[in-house]
């Protein structure tokens, strides 16, 4: 493993953390490619990414809790339900063509993104100075 690869991995890790703290995501979108670049296989990269997400999300969650932005009961319900959802996801993945799934989910997310953008733009006009 070259020095540059390590520097790139550290930088992607830092960027994943910034993404996580800013947007409330885990950072896996950057962790997985970083780990693959380090030489891990897809399954190992996904599994190892989950471990990297734990301290990242914990740091963000603690800071956000301090700012009054964590609704603990809601987080518990979503977190536990998602474990069952993952079970369902694995079964779907085994039954349906992956490229079809990717496109379908992509289109769905694109629609949600447009709705969010409209909502954000509208609220910015309506409450320009409210944080």
């Amino acid at each position: 493993m070259s020095t540059w690869t390590i520097v790139a991995a550290l930088s992607l890790g830092l960027a994943a953390g910034v993404l996580s703290g800013t947007f409330g995501v885990g950072g896996g979108i950057l962790f997985v490619p970083a780990l693959v670049a380090l030489g891990l296989g897809q399954v190992e990269a996904a599994a190892t990414s989950l471990l990297a997400i734990v301290p990242t999300a914990a740091t963000g969650a603690i800071r956000q809790h301090g700012a009054g932005n964590v609704r603990v009961r809601a987080a518990l319900v979503i977190g536990v339900a998602s474990i069952f959802g993952a079970e369902v996801g694995v079964r779907i993945a085994n039954a349906v063509d992956e490229s079809v799934l990717r496109r379908a989910f992509g289109v769905l997310l694109l629609i949600v993104a447009v709705q969010l953008a409209i909502q954000g733009a509208r609220d910015r006009r309506r409450y320009p100075d409210v944080p």
Binding site: L10, S11, V25, V54, A61, N69, A93
Partner: protein, 116 residues
């Protein structure tokens, strides 16, 4: 409310199992759109939920020997510093601005899914 939150969790789990990305990209817009959380509360709650999801996932994969501790530290430790920077930046953004910025992130991920 409880049923909607459980539904958000289920969808998130399905999504993350299918595409190997964490659930946050799904949790945040669903919290804003489905149960009317303010943007900052949506992202904070999402992080706490992801913590549970990821911990369960690690437990599952660790049993199969797929988790590489040293590699996780290599990307995860700088990410802790990044998360501190990110939450600091976020607290300076208004809710609507955060929502707009998230929409851009979501559109990028959607494009990546469609193109990939």
């Amino acid at each position: 409310m409880l049923a909607r939150l459980a539904l958000i969790g289920l969808v998130t789990g399905v999504f993350s199992a299918l595409f190997g990305v964490g659930g946050g990209i799904v949790v945040v817009p669903l919290l804003i759109g489905l149960v009317a959380f303010p943007a900052h509360a949506a992202t904070g709650t999402s992080l706490a939920a992801i913590l549970i999801t990821a911990t369960a996932g690690v437990a599952l994969y660790a049993g199969r020997g797929d988790v590489r501790l040293a590699y996780a530290a290599l990307v995860g430790l700088p990410a802790i510093a990044g998360a501190l920077i990110g939450t600091h930046v976020q607290q300076r953004l208004s809710g609507p601005t955060l929502t707009l910025a998230f929409a851009v992130l979501l559109a990028s991920v959607a494009t990546w899914l469609i193109a990939g």
